[in-house]
Subunit: 427 residues, 3 copies
């Protein structure tokens, strides 16, 4: 039996070659592969092009079959078949011979990283465009070139997937990840792979919370999703996590919610402070993925983003260097371990209150050393501190933060006291 | 056409030679000169001696015509004509020959600065007194001396000036400066000169706020003014600034309000944090000018003090060394630039709220790059951050503080969005 | 006439030899000695064994007459007569010859401090036990040993003492100290000695507050006391102090209340910040004495603990090395000085408000320099700052903290202004 890390890496590998964009077959195929890997049902939604979603309009659907540039000798100097980053997202079709000067007007490179192909899109302005490395561009010789893109923009739909796993309450935990980038490993394939594995984890538990997983195109997808679900989400979502760039094995990162004051901020930071004390905190000023929409004015859901290396901060980001060598089973496993600890912490996160006045007599319950000597209480300080701060003012994560004991240990203590009938708990 | 700095320096030069005190002709003449330099009407108020103003009584008016000490050879060793600091403020008249020992009982010096003549007053206890440098005092020879002061204390009045420039609302911004020190450049002439120039600045704008400028004798003047206007001011003043020592070209200083929690504190610190990041903050414990009364128990107006070198902190303070060489056009201009930025920030300072749910689509409004590539958003981060925090909870200055962008830039952004109908604003 | 330090040291000396436990004759004798040293009446309470007190049951009473271990030559290797730490608290009786191996099962030592006899108890589980130094244990030779303890456990009572000194109001200040440890100087005898001296101090004053002093066995005693007085204490106690380890002359320590937010925290820290600026602050996580119960869920009284060297932190703690050489008259005197300053601060601690609008004219009241020159106000800054912050929002200790002037000086200022009719005050 495989580890979660191995399974996530394998799923990412399957998703990697697909040419995704914010609409079209790539998204559909991606959702279908994910759907096959999960133990819960995924609902697929299709929203027609032209649909008004808040301030935006669902764009036309983009289909691409083939694309290349060939030289006078019919040698293809770049080919979409070999790397789908070679065409800018939403490129219009073209079939034209041009000279080098004109060709260069259509070529996008990343000058500060001359070896890599950049990832470029032009969703909301119609353009033709190709991407290659700056080095390749510089090596092109004078002559005629054939620009060829066989693509079309048409009234189709925007597609997204949704998995809801009902819990004992209607309170919800939201996981959101995107399915709209072409072949990028960490910045695209890792998020859906982690989400899939978390679906399988959650499906096996008896849950207090209802868990909602959404697989959407970034920005336009979250806006579309929110336009259809905002009121319900505002009423029910207690914490949410955007998953992106979760497959590499470098640092851990939190991108805080707008005011860094939500349950999502609190629980994720608490877990990371034990799991990876050197984790990085980015303020909302450094946001970039769908936490933008979830925290937007009028939405204001309690959502943070979780990454290993944060998008926009690592050199391979949005280039052909973000490939399957950048991610690893170990990297995935770390992310999975963090998010499952987050889930466990949330599931146990009540406002606890000891229902006994003064300290309970722990001795008669076998919870206290029977001999009293200097040092004999050290082993039970977590228990005593939990009892002191379980006063109805703090939730479990607050108590963990106050008494400096991991939530995991406090869950055991809380259960022990709860079983002894000494504890009241409230949502 | 002169710069504001030049004009302010010139006005200060005119004001410098006048012998002012808390009452009397010096104040009247000062107000008259200022009145001639401003493009708005100044109302002059006379409050009779003996008037009860809260816990205080308006004192008698002091008039001084001449004062000197001469030696046995009728050589005037000090003469009020040459420097009006040579007589203590409110000195009683005297015309008496004394020997050196007796003379010394009437002489005040600044022992720790032996070169300078100190500024000394005795408003509330009747006294005769002369001031000179410690060095001069030490050089006096045995012999007879003629002490002569031709002054009188009589039932007259306390005079102050007031300029009110009506805005679109009754909400007010208060500027307060004093006109009661004799020949001191930074500690006296600079404040009224800056206030005059700000009057001219404000007169030319279309203002949201009503601007109130008061030119008063320090302490007794502000108490008198408050005793007549307290209820109105408490209802309408949203921020106030005491202007003192604003003509030198050293650091910038803020003296905070009592709890450092007013709009005046917030806006002045915000502006200085960009204009002069090394500015000095003094707590209210280091107060000293009329912010004392504006923040006093029962008054509690949102008022701070603004200085270049803070009164009481620079060596020339309250001595003959505080002359026109201490101030400069450049020093004045810096203060003017800060206070006009403060005014602009206040005028634009609303609680803004984006009236669109989720992020607005900036692309269709030409506010967003049409091509999406790594780094392409850096130029519009201020716009995006403004939109994120314009949620009705923050005023413009709060947003500036959160997103680290000067208010000046945010005004442009706010106008842009406002013109696009995307923004609600509230006082 | 002796100093307080001398008297406290002497009382501690009398209390030292007594073998105390949480019940029994030692407590009764201790209370009787204290009672003889105080100028107020102590009420002695006896609570029968078996009484339910919240989650606990008052234990049986323990009586011990004699205890020793002798070797084959009837040589007593340890003897309760010589040091009452040689028997564990609540040891069952025994009279049995055993070999060395079996003997060792009954011997408790402090391995990390091989020279000292540890203090060990087993209140809630019936055991036989002896204590000696690790060195002595290691030096024992093979052979037969006679374990002898002449003790009994029987239905008796738990005893505590209570002194209440009525003040002008029912608001109360609580002092709590324990009387349940055998021969330990700092960790046992110092607290009751200080409490006794404070009783004498308070008895001589005209008090605003009612002062309550309780002398109880630790833990079970405070629980018992609270079970009988909780509602009254919750209504009336405004600040409370557990006194423990107050006789040595090392640092000063505060153990904060649960959220470090009570009047007791505030006043004690304020006083220590002037008396001993290097004092140590321990969070409630490092609690250990009866502040545990006073801050427990459902109790939540505003109580901190005060120590010189904190219990549990100094090497002699809970060993035979905590003897009369560890405490000193000087150490006691320091604690007394701190706590009497605390009492004085509390007695004067009102919310003050100047009833004059704007600054009062201090000059006409003789409180202000009549000559005004640079530097002339330094001497009255405390007065001016008090007036600025006596605005009804701050109590006297808050003002002290804001303006950085000791409460002691502020009391004089407050009295001065109060006598002048310029001050309103509220509880």
């Amino acid at each position: 039996m495989n580890t979660e890390g191995e399974r996530m890496y394998k799923l990412a590998e399957k998703l990697f070659p697909i040419c995704r964009s914010i609409t079209g077959e790539g998204v559909v195929k991606t959702l279908s592969i994910i759907s096959d890997c999960i133990t819960a049902e995924m609902t697929i939604h299709h929203v027609p092009s032209g649909t008004q979603v808040f301030d935006w309009t669902v764009p036309k659907e983009w289909k691409i079959r083939q694309a290349y540039i060939e030289d006078e000798n019919n040698h293809r100097i770049i080919d979409f078949e070999k790397n789908n980053l070679h065409v800018i997202g939403y490129s219009l079709p073209v079939d034209k011979w041009v000279d080098l000067d004109e060709l260069k007007e259509y070529i996008y490179t990343q000058k500060d990283q001359p070896d890599v192909i950049p990832y470029v899109t032009s969703y909301y302005k119609e353009r033709i465009g190709f991407c290659m490395s700056e080095n390749q561009k510089n090596s092109l010789k004078e002559g005629k070139y054939h620009m060829y893109v066989d693509s079309e923009l048409f009234d189709g739909s925007l597609t997204y997937g949704e998995v809801v796993i009902k819990g004992r309450t209607q309170d919800e935990i939201l996981f959101s990840t995107y399915v709209c980038h072409p072949s990028m490993a960490d910045n695209e394939c890792s998020g859906p792979s982690l989400a899939a594995e978390l679906i399988n984890y959650v499906s096996k538990r008896d849950n207090r919370y209802t868990y909602r997983f959404v697989f959407i195109p970034e920005t336009i997808g979250s806006i579309t999703y929110l336009s259809r679900n905002l009121e319900y989400l505002k009423e029910h979502v207690k914490a949410g996590f955007v998953l992106s760039c979760v497959g590499d094995d470098r640092e851990y990162s939190v991108i805080e919610s707008k005011y860094a004051d939500t349950l999502a901020d609190k629980v994720l930071k608490n877990i990371l402070s034990y799991h990876a004390p050197q984790y990085k905190t980015y303020s909302f000023l450094q946001r970039g993925s769908d936490e933008r929409q979830y925290n937007a004015v009028g939405v204001e859901l309690p959502v943070v983003a979780f990454c290993r290396s944060k998008y926009g901060e690592y050199p391979e980001y949005h280039t052909s260097a973000d490939d399957m060598t950048l991610v690893s089973e170990k990297g995935f496993q770390g992310s999975f371990d963090v998010m499952t600890q987050v889930i466990e912490a949330l599931e146990h996160n009540y406002y606890y209150r000891i229902n006994i006045i003064c300290e309970p007599q722990l001795g008669k319950r076998g919870l206290y050393p029977t001999i009293s000597q200097k040092g004999s209480y050290d082993a039970i300080m977590a228990l005593r501190d939990f009892i002191a701060y379980a006063d109805g003012k703090n939730d479990l994560i607050d108590i963990s933060n106050i008494i400096n004991v991991p939530v995991r240990e406090l869950c055991t203590i809380a259960d022990q006291l709860d079983n002894g009938g000494m504890l009241d708990k409230k949502r």
